[in-house]
Each structure stands twice: as C-alpha cells, then as structure tokens.
Symmetry: C2
Subunit: 493 residues, 2 copies
C-alpha cells in the first residue's frame, strides 16, 4: 500500500511558481486521483506526515487540503483511525468495468432529430475579421458614429437609479424605448403602430428565432429570397423551417415563382427596402402581390428592414408593413446598422393578433438586452441624435456609393456595379468566365475582403458576382479595392 500510494501521490505535480496556492494544487491533485479511482473508496489515506514527505510540501499544507476534501465529503475522518476515501465514491456493482473505460469510449452525444436535420441545412456562415475596410458588408461607418453623445448619455445612466439601470427590466423591453421606436417607425417608415406591439430583442437574430419558434411546425415551408441573407435563414432552419429558395429579380422576390414552387407556404421572409444582397427595392406591385399571396395561403410575412433608413434620396420608400392592411407582416428591425453592431439591439413589431402570444413568450422565457443599453438608445433617439446621425450617414453612404460607381465606370474592366438606392452594399457582376471564388481569395491576399454571390444562394443562380460593402471603407480604399478586383495594379491596402 505504501509503495502504491507513493507512486500515485508522486504523480501530483506541484508548481511552486504558479499563481495557485500550493494547498489548492494539492487539493485538486488528490481530488483527481480519488475521482478517477486511483485511491479507491474505503481505502485509507497515508498519514499526513507521510504525504508531506512524499509530495514535498509542509504538513500544514497537507492537512489543509485534506480538510477541504473532508468537508466536501470525498474523505472521511475516523477518530483515532485515520482518513479514508468515502464509501459514496464506490462504483455501482454493475459498472465496475465501465468506470475504468477511458472517456473517449463514451457514447457520442445524442442531438435532437430536428437539430441533426438543421445542422445539415445550415448555410455556412463566415465570421470575418471585423476591420473596417473594403468591401466588408456588414459594418457601418463606425468612425462616423457620434461616440461623444453616446458616451455622455451612457455615463449619465451609469450614475442613475440603480434599480432601473442594473436590475431586470420589463421583459418586453423598456417602455420608453418601445415608445421611441413606435414614433420613429411612424415618422421614418410610414408605419402606424402602438408601443405595445414592439418587443425588444438581443439583435434581429433573436427576433427571427422567436418568430420561427412560435409559428413554424417542423418542415413548414418558408419562401426565402435567393440570393438572400445567411444568418436569418439559419435562425429559421434551426426552428424547423424548410426554406424554399425563391428567385429575385429587379423588382424583388418573384411572387409568381414562389406560388409555383410552394403555394402552401407558411411564412415568407423578405428584405423589401434593400434586397439583401442584391440591393433592389421591392416594387409596389410586387409588395401587393406578396400580401395577396399571403392572404390566400393564410401565411405570415417577415419583413427584415435591416437598413431601410439609408435611402439616398429624400423620397423614402415606406416599409412593406405600412401597406399591410391584413396585419400579416411581422416587421423586424435592428440597430446594428443605424447605431453599431455591438449594441445588440433589435425588435419585433408584432401584428395585433400576435401581441398576446409575444407577451407571453417574453414574460415566460425570453430575456432581452441590457436595460441600461435600452435606456441609452431611447434617450439617443428622443434627444434627436438618432435622426441627425441617420441623416449624416445617408449622405456619407451616398458619397461612398458615388465613389464606387465612378471608380467602376472609369476602370477598363468588365466589372459592372449594380446601382442601388440605399444602404451600403451592392453587387458587382463579373464576366461569366471569371472564377469568383478565386478572385475573392486573391483579393483577400491583398487585404480586400469581399464575398462571392454564391455564398448567399441556397440554390444556384446564373449571375456571377461579388457582394461589395462600402459602409466602412474610405474613398481611397474603395478605389484601390476596385482596382485590385479588376486585376489592375494598385497599391496594397
């Protein structure tokens, strides 16, 4: 026994230079041995003096570690008879062999069937390095954000009433933020709604997940723009959706083709203000046709208005929701582009008929974003900073767009940049013979990040193109980036 114990205990490594106290290291080392059966249940531990000598630590240290293990129940002290490994650690009779089986023989974890199916259906999503540069799609112009105002409001709230700012807020979201958003939607997107219809989420992705959870049975068909947004599609798939890729043309989602592919659709997911990723605006006739199709199928529509504020002209195209007389559109908004991505704030504008359902969802199990952040955003809106910022960003993105178009026109290449009327991304069409994937890799090697259109496609499309974001790129970066994509000599960015 002494030899065996000696061998075991000498396996305990004590690092003298470590941050962790020696008695803690000893405690954890002994624990490990006991748990893995190296010292069996009912066996007596060597005397503390012996342990101290074998391991090379003080007796006090050993006693300290033993005390911890006794209070935890791993060891039992018998008065006058020593310290023993607790009987509770005895393995059950039937499993004596299994106990010694190495961990990697453990059965593979069982995932739910639904999730195993979903795993196969997820569109691969690249989470790029997030430097502001040409032609990153998702980043707005962070350097232009009025951080001074934001920081001022933020500091005010950190000094404010602790119960309000640090506690649990109302589950549907802060009342005054819901009011600020309702006012804003009215003025900017032409939507009339009550604050009670608005539910604050941790970004749009949570909104899509919740909507999917509430509305979709496993395998329910969802009309999905093809090409279309990647993350949103995955959120719906994760909740049981069978996405039906519906072609998109210059007027947006092709409703006629949708009706041919899936007349029995449950949900349609659209980006009417600025098709993600192609950039088109959904025409009014198409919008009306979509509403009509939804009515005939008793389906709902999710409107993802991710950057509808950034229209280049003053003539704003109102949201689809604003002509939704049948109350079938669930409008999802986000502050990721209008403020910045890490604010992680989005919202669901619920049709009246679903308000009681979402009320219960948010009360029962959803917890949304930070109350303090919600209060900051609300003030930022009410003080007028939000509207001012959006106006400035419209001009900035329009200016960057102009640089992009002009650069494209002046280059002797066959890249055709799609015109767009809003936002900060568009499509660049390539010659059919150009290998888009290879071009993306080459450009990446020269520090220009772009994505092949194929990445946004659930089903293949004819067009050979790249998606270019220009929100976070400076004008010279745009020009240089386009030169690089055109295969022309340009200084690396």
């Amino acid at each position: 026994m002494k030899q065996q114990a000696g061998a075991l205990l000498s396996s305990i490594r004590i690092e003298r230079g470590s941050d962790r106290k020696i008695s803690v290291q000893l405690y954890m080392g002994l624990r490990e041995i006991i748990l893995t059966g190296g010292l069996e249940a009912g066996k007596r531990l060597p005397a503390s003096r012996t342990l101290a000598k074998e391991i090379g630590v003080s007796r006090t240290t050993v006693i300290d570690a033993i005390d911890r293990l006794v209070s935890e129940g791993m060891l039992v002290s018998r008065v006058g008879a020593g310290t023993y490994v607790s009987d509770v650690l005895a393995p059950p009779q039937t499993n004596a062999q299994q106990r010694d089986a190495p961990k990697d023989e453990q059965a593979e974890p069982q995932l739910s069937h639904r999730f195993t199916v979903a795993l196969d259906s997820f569109a691969p999503r690249q989470r790029l390095p997030h430097k502001s540069q040409a032609f990153i799609t998702a980043l707005p112009a962070l350097e232009a954000f009025p951080m001074t105002h934001w920081a001022r409001i933020s500091a005010r709230h950190l000094r404010g009433n602790r119960d309000e700012m640090m506690g649990y807020g109302p589950p549907q979201g802060l009342d005054r933020l819901r009011r600020s958003i309702a006012s804003h939607l009215n003025a900017a997107r032409g939507i009339r709604c009550r604050p009670e219809q608005i539910f604050i989420t941790s970004g749009a992705q949570q909104a899509f997940s919740v909507i999917g959870r509430v509305l979709l049975n496993n395998g329910d068909k969802v009309w999905y723009e093809n090409p279309g947004a990647i993350g949103a599609g995955n959120a719906l798939v994760a909740n049981g959706a069978r996405l039906v890729p519906v072609p998109v043309d210059g007027d947006g989602l092709d409703v006629e083709q949708g009706l041919q592919l899936a007349p029995d659709f449950r949900l349609a997911f659209v980006t009417p203000s600025h098709q993600q990723p192609l950039g088109h605006v959904m025409s009014l006739p198409r919008r009306l046709a979509l509403l009509e199709a939804a009515k005939a199928a008793n389906a709902m529509i999710v409107e993802d208005d991710y950057d509808g504020e950034f229209h280049f002209s003053d003539r704003v195209q109102p949201a689809l929701k604003s002509i939704d007389t049948q109350d079938r559109v669930i409008y999802v908004g986000t502050f990721s582009k209008t403020l910045f991505p890490s604010v992680r704030l989005g919202f669901i504008l619920s049709p009246g008929s679903l308000v009681p359902v979402f009320d219960q969802v948010f009360t029962s199990w959803i917890s949304g974003p930070s109350t303090a952040t919600q209060a900051i955003v609300s003030d930022f809106m009410d003080e007028g900073q939000f509207a001012t910022h959006i106006r400035m960003m419209r001009r900035l993105y329009k200016a960057r767009y102009d640089v992009l178009i002009e650069a494209a026109n002046s280059l002797p290449s066959s890249i055709r940049v799609q015109q767009t009327r809003s936002g900060f991304h568009t499509t660049a069409y390539l010659d059919p013979c150009v290998d888009a994937g290879a071009l993306v890799e080459q450009a990446k090697g020269r520090n220009v990040i772009t994505a092949p259109l194929a990445r946004y496609c659930l089903a293949p499309v004819e067009q050979n193109a790249l998606v270019l974001g220009f929100g976070s790129a400076k004008p010279d970066g745009i020009q240089a980036g386009l030169k690089i994509l055109s295969g022309l000599p340009a200084l690396d960015i």
Copy 2:
C-alpha cells in the same frame, strides 16, 4: 364624384399643433384612404387646388404630399390628364368582398403545434417591480456594486478601438472573456476546462434555450426539481421538453424518485450549489448518484450555477461539473447575480463532445451579447475587481442572512426560516393553516414582496412556505418585513 371626394377628404384630420409636418399628415391621411379603398384604383384625384380648399391647407402642401405618393407608386400622374390612383391597387377579382371585410374577421393566427402545446405548459412567471426591497428574490445588492470601477473600465472601452468595441465580435464570445471565465471556474468552482468550451450567451435563459434546441426531441423527458426555477423550465418547455417534476429534499434532487418517475429521461436540470428556491446544497452522494443515473440513461445534465459564488463559509462546495468524469454535465453560468442583472451575460460550459456542435450553432445563427460589455467584464475580472466584489458580497449576504435568522428567532411567530449556506434567498415555512397566497397579497399591500412556494412548483408539494430574497434588502427592511409577514405591528416599509 366631387361630393364623394369631398366627404372622404374632409375625414383627413390635420393637427396644426402637432410635431409632424402638415404635408406629412396629409400624405399619411391620403395614403390611408387609398389603401383602405376609399379612393379606388383608377379613380382620378381632385385637382390640387380643390384638395387644398377642401382640406384647408396650402396648395404647395398638397402638391408635396401628392409627389410623395407618386414616387411611392400609389398615385400616377398622367400628363395633362391629372393624377390617378394606381391600377396596382386594384383588388384581385376573386377577393372583392374580402377586401372590405373588417380586420377583425381575419383568421386567427396559426401558431406551431409545438408552441401551442408549450403555451399551455408555461409556468406563469411574474415580472415584479424591481425595487430593491424585502423580499425580492432575484436582485443582488445593487447599491454595493463598485460602479466607479465599472464606469472607469466602460469609459476606457468606449474610447477604444472602434472596430473591436463596436463591430461584430467572434460569435462564440470574446476570446479573452472565455479565458477569464475558464480561469475563474478553475479557481472558484474547481472546474478544469479550456476556453474553447465556453460559449457566451445573452444571459442564462438563452443558454437554456440553445441547449434545449440542440438536445431535445419533442416530448423528451427532463428531470426538473420540484420546487424549481421558473424561467429555466419555461425555456426548456419552449423547446419541446416534457418536464418531469422530481421531488427535492434536504440533500437536493431525489435521484431514486427520478428513476421511478422517468428512468428514460433525456436531461436532468439541477441547481446543486444552492437549490432554487429551497436553498439546500446537493450532497455528494446525491451528486454521484445523479451522474450514475445519467450514465445509465445516456442522458445529459444541466447544472444551473446561478449563485454558487456566494457561499458563507470559506469551504466552497465545488460545482457538480468538477466531479463530472463522464463529461455529461453542461454547466451554465450567469453574471446576473455576481455583477448585476442588466449586464445580460451568461455562458455555456460545454462538454468536450458538444463543442463542435455549439461552435456551429453560434457561428450559424446565434448572436450573443455586446462585445463591449464582454470586454468590460473580462477586464473587470482580470483586474481582480470581480474576485474582490464577490468576497465582499459573501460577507454582506452572510450578514443579511444573520439578520434574517435572528429576526426569525426573536419573533413570537411560527414562521420557520430555512437555514442556508449561500446565496441570498431562502424559504420561510408557515403553519399549514396559513393561507400563503393571502399572506403574500397582504404583505404586498404593505410593500413587502414575497412569493408563495407554490409558484415554483410544477406539481403540488406538502410544504406551505414563502420564498424570501434578502440580497437587495437592508437590515431594517428585513426586520420590518419579517414582522409584517408574522402579522405583527410594524411600520410600513
């Protein structure tokens, strides 16, 4: 036509004192009329001069509103022939009657079957007013939080690198926060793990939702402590769980009874460090029995360690995860109690076998909490503020607990306060003849908030009790509150 138009148009209300510009009011009023069919497709609009006179606004205002509607596609200008309501607004032939049906005749929204079942199964959850007071359960001692340090770190990050702080961070969470958490778990909870096993979520609720989504088939049985936490149970139900209420005694969840009720369980949900809401610590034999039962059933265990840091003695009971040699425990942590609720930060510590799955989940569709907040928390931990704060809070909660126990002992009443060794809530047992619900209402009328134990029970239990939180209550509030609960004269709080 003139008369009809006149009647319609005089229904447009213009508020001169309103914030909204008159032309916008007119635009929205006309739009509404067009959309609801008051002015039919193809009909000609009265001349702008007429409209101006009828409605009582300037002709310029009318032209402005009409221009907007034309650019939107609602109206069409025919040169030399006037302005007409666009033909696209013509209702489809078959639905002429339906178009005029009032909205409330629309079919009830169809929810998913799964969700309809879940709706019935949700445990009602009260979202209380969140004032710090006796005996609110969920709030920690907000007034004791070192906001100065937090604000300092926060300000530093707001001034920092914009791409990092404002952009999209890595989907699994900020690397340095994952490392800080791994170190902390090692030191404070006895858990050895790699940062790659840690996934940052928007609070623990999102963690429970994701786990349910990934592991549970519809109707899968989940051992659920009875009484037990409310929100977590709902998150699992929302993802298909059939919760099996398993009794709890002084040693925690009764594994034997669990095996009788549901030997084929898929998941067990436990709060081993501090039973929510009764306060017991799960004994070591029970922990081992639970691990053994999970192995036999090829089930997983979710450990909800919501306040395991706040042990009153220095002898910390390590987490269940720390003895999980089979890697079946999914440990969920939260900063809601150790920092404050509105920080909305939690994490999943994944078994090694599930790391690739969670990697894909977080990359494909989950977006977690604010990157900036993650960075602040990471620094707060690395600077040692977190450990200091927890040590102080242990002492504070122990002191408040002592006040509670002493007050209970000194009162001539039959309220028996359950002893506990950690955290900031416990149970107060009442005489069987006392109506707990009525007592809760009376106390609420005197500004003492408490919850009947029954609210935490999926299945009825024998004990008649209240759950008392003392984290956010000051000593005199605790004393006065207990007097009020005992039916004794006390000044209202």
